[in-house]
């Protein structure tokens, strides 16, 4: 071939182009879907589904008032590295709360306040969470995409 770099460069370029196109194909599932496709609904709820709740305050309250991070991994909450309960990454995409009730804002607010009432004997204790704190924390969790 009459290209500078010779066969080696041509081979490398070909492989790179192949990898890029194949990669795009494989990664297509994780790429954002077109906004026009109404069937794309991995996260059914968002923080605005809890009117008046403040997600930032929820994250603060999780850390300072209730110690959620001692049992759960929670993205965005400092020191939340606990492994007693499940990690809460991608909370908004979950279908169930504790494998028990549907993951909706109302159910989550109830769960945060009285987990023992919804699933008696579960490892998560009743922590005396107020309604306002539960709404703020639920709003924060639903911001985790």
């Amino acid at each position: 071939m009459a290209c500078p770099g010779g066969r080696g460069l041509a081979l490398a370029t070909t492989l790179l182009v192949l990898a890029a196109t194949t990669g795009c194909g494989l990664l297509g599932d994780l790429a954002p879907a077109p906004a026009s496709d109404a069937r794309y609904q991995p996260a059914r709820f968002q923080p605005s589904d809890l009117p008046g709740a403040q997600p930032d305050r929820g994250a603060r309250v999780m850390r300072h008032a209730y110690g959620c991070g001692a049992c759960h991994v929670i993205p965005g909450v400092t020191g939340a590295t606990g492994m007693v309960g499940p990690p809460l990454n991608g909370w908004s995409r979950r279908a169930y709360i504790a494998g028990n009730v549907a993951n909706t804002p109302d159910n989550l607010v109830r769960w945060l306040q009285h987990p023992q009432a919804i699933e008696p004997g579960t490892a998560m204790p009743d922590l005396g969470v107020s309604e306002a704190d539960a709404r703020d924390m639920a709003a924060y969790l639903f911001s985790l995409r």
């Binding site: 008032a65 110690g67 001692a70 049992c71 590295t81 606990g82 007693v84 004997g121 490892a123 204790p125």
Partner: protein
């Protein structure tokens, strides 16, 4: 400069000023609230802070002096006589000028005389200051023995006859004798706002003293690398007004509380089965359990869990007991296999141990 250029320059200046003031207020806030050595609350820390500030300003002044000299050296117009350097280093020149090289006088004055004049008095000052606080002003009435373990603090009040862990209470404004020991490796006892670092060495009992002049809760930590969780080996030193201290000490002398709550009683049974192998409780005048880990007789009234690293609230206690290795991997407490009801019962029991 064009009008647009002047506006851009003004904006840049305002932005820089804003950034500086934000940084300044952050630093000021940090200084005001952080457990900082330049925010002393006791005589020993105050002496250290005094020494530090004197050294800082002296060093700052010398730094500016040196920078000024450097600037002068860089930007002065070079004298004509320097243009023949070879001639200046010749034996004839040296004989005539009496010096080995140009500027020898300046080097001796600035490099030998000035440092000696600054450093010798400064060293004397440091030594005198530290000697002044090496012994307490009055003989201490209270003795506390602290033993460093990997990675927690065993605290004993020998005269009052009780033990606790990870929390040291002292009366405000009174000197307290500290006996420092180590169980396994070298640790170091440090409460930045109240006293300097004191090593705890296995096989030795090191006597020192501490005094806090303002009531409050002070952060303490291990200051000698002692293993994988050295960074999370912390404690609190609580300075109480004398009446509050006496009340606290009296409570600590009581045996473990017995609760009426059925969940707590169930928790006590779990504790007796699963926790007593490594922890101790004072029950009915005797110690029950093995002291591999901290005594938990009055755990419910402590401020922290996990050795100073988490506030003592229910969520954190459940997380610690449920999986201490997730919070402090490599610490001596293993994951104890408890079903969920037993976990919550024992957490309730621990809360009841006020």
């Amino acid at each position: 400069m064009t009008a647009a250029g002047r506006r851009a320059a003004r904006r840049a200046r305002r932005l820089a000023l804003l950034r500086l003031s934000v940084l300044g207020s952050v630093l000021a806030a940090a200084c005001a609230t952080a457990p900082s050595t330049v925010n002393p609350r006791g005589p020993r820390a105050a002496q250290i802070a005094d020494i530090w500030w004197l050294s800082f300003w002296l060093a700052a002044a010398i730094f500016l002096l040196v920078m000024a000299a450097l600037g002068y050296a860089l930007f002065r117009r070079r004298p004509e006589r320097w243009r023949q350097p070879a001639e200046q280093m010749s034996p004839a020149w040296q004989r005539e000028s009496g010096s080995r090289f140009p500027g020898q006088g300046f080097v001796v004055a600035g490099g030998v005389v000035l440092p000696v004049l600054v450093l010798v008095p400064l060293s004397v000052y440091w030594i005198v200051k530290l000697i002044q606080v090496a012994v307490p002003p009055t003989p201490p009435e209270l003795t506390i023995e602290v033993t460093g373990y990997q990675f927690w603090w065993h605290v004993r009040y020998p005269d009052q006859g009780f033990v606790t862990a990870n929390e040291v209470h002292v009366p405000v404004g009174r000197p307290v004798r500290l006996l420092l020991k180590a169980q396994d490796v070298i640790h170091s006892f440090w409460v930045p706002q109240v006293m300097g670092k004191h090593d705890m060495i296995p096989g030795k009992t090191i006597e020192t003293w501490v005094q806090a002049d303002e009531a409050g809760v002070y952060w303490g930590e291990c200051a000698e690398y002692c293993g994988i969780q050295h960074a999370k080996m912390a404690f609190v030193l609580v300075a109480d007004p004398p009446e509050q201290f006496a009340a606290w000490a009296a409570r600590q002398q009581q045996p473990a509380a017995e609760s009426d709550d059925p969940v707590a009683r169930r928790g006590a049974q779990v504790f007796a089965r699963a926790c007593i192998t490594c922890h101790t409780l004072q029950v009915g005048g005797e110690t029950v359990g093995t002291a591999v880990g901290p005594d938990l007789t009055h755990f419910g009234s402590r401020l922290t869990v996990g050795a100073g690293i988490l506030p003592n609230i229910r969520g954190n206690v459940a997380g610690w007991v449920g999986n201490p290795q997730a919070i402090k991997p490599g610490n001596t407490m293993p994951i104890v296999e408890l079903d969920s009801e037993s976990l919550l019962a024992v957490v309730t029991y621990l809360e009841s141990l006020k």
